[in-house]
Symmetry: D2
Subunit: 143 residues, 4 copies
């Protein structure tokens, strides 16, 4: 995926205890960044998001840690929906250095929409699918 | 990999704020469990581990989230080194329910040993390689 | 309060990223320890605890950080209810080194019981009050 | 302390997993906000801050939790140094709702400056004292 394809970018505010004893951002903290990116993506792109009724759950992740992140870096997370299936969809995300545009970490994930009231996965609504395709500027529905 | 192959298992103490607003353990917390598993593995299997000089860094992760973890679950993390290369090595880890043995989440990772003083990756020492093969009960060095 | 008065003690499992760049357990992590202590206290001492209906909320905290905690320390959190009022009650807690019995940190807190369904504070039930006094071995109700 | 006295305010970016199963920001997360506020304060007010040599450690905290924080709140942390002693100094901080100016939580803390190389507390430098008094617009040194 070309970096220029990202339509959604969110600057991240690092916290003091994101940094571990090795002096860099701890691996486990990256997932907070990806979480923040996707929560913000769906909240701003999709209509009627209500995290009390609907949840989005990760079922599979593949992550490449490319460069370490230090406390002085100004970072951001970029998020794109790359494919929408029936019950699942795929995200591609990058954590980048905002000054240098260097990619610090990339993440492909497979997500499912989950019905919190009935405790089962459910299809992505047509409203959401359309809003996502509109936002991404292309039809990302799996044929 | 067969579950019975794991030689290293560590019970995990869940914390109150591991649980998020969806009522299950938040995804980002799983990585603390994997971190705990591998830190404990190397500390108990390998000789002369000093995290002030040496670091182990993740370069690639693949994770399958299979079942949700709830606050009442008694969980543990299982860790095995599955392959040792020159500068990198591979781990396979599972988070399981200790009562049911159900696998909640599995994780394959590629790690490198890192020299914190000289800021570069470095080969795994022969001592560590031998200790790991001894512990795993087989030669996991890449041929 | 005399240390020997504690009837409830819970060993704590430290996590790798509890340690910050200063090489000690980060201050913000201590509150997870106190949370863990009190959740465990109420779960084991009081009847019919259901965190989906009832919450216990902190309204005031006073903490003394006495000694730093390092990754090699074996620590535990000690918890006692020291006074029960009408809607509020007081806890006294200590994080200690299990080997040396040294007190690392102490915490006085004022808590209220909260009704999650009706979004208001509510009195501690008589059942809970009795169970707590029984457990502590003395009447801690405010006269 | 009057709210209008704060010269330092830092907006906080909430993270998805700051919210716990009670649907509000977990208590233990507030300390990350206070940490962020004070790290930013010293980094921007004091000359030559180097967290690899100097640390600022909390020795005492008093916190009032006034209102719950929800995921939709836009919050900020306000920080002031209220008194400088020889080796210790006092901070007063508030977490506020940026829209309503409502105070969510307030925190008084006593801090010491710590020499990470020699592992002992040390006096606040004259440079820092002057910079802080200049910033606060009054002499906060203890007479």
């Amino acid at each position: 995926m070309e970096k220029s394809n990202f339509k959604h970018i969110l600057p991240i505010q690092l916290r003091f205890n994101d940094i571990d004893q090795f002096g860099h951002v701890n691996n486990s903290v990256y997932f907070s960044f990806y979480d923040l990116g996707k929560t913000n993506y769906f909240g701003s792109v999709c209509p009627n998001v209500d995290w009390n009724k609907d949840a989005i759950m990760v079922v599979h992740l593949e992550i490449d840690f490319i460069e370490q992140i230090y406390s002085t870096n100004r970072i951001a997370v970029q998020t794109a929906v790359t494919q929408i299936g029936n019950k699942s969809f795929q995200l591609y995300q990058e954590v980048i250095d905002q000054n240098t545009q260097q990619v610090k970490c990339s993440c492909k994930s497979v997500m499912v929409t989950y019905d919190l009231e009935n405790h089962c996965s459910k299809p992505l609504s047509e409203d959401w699918k359309e809003a996502i395709c509109d936002f991404e500027g292309k039809d990302v529905r799996r044929k």
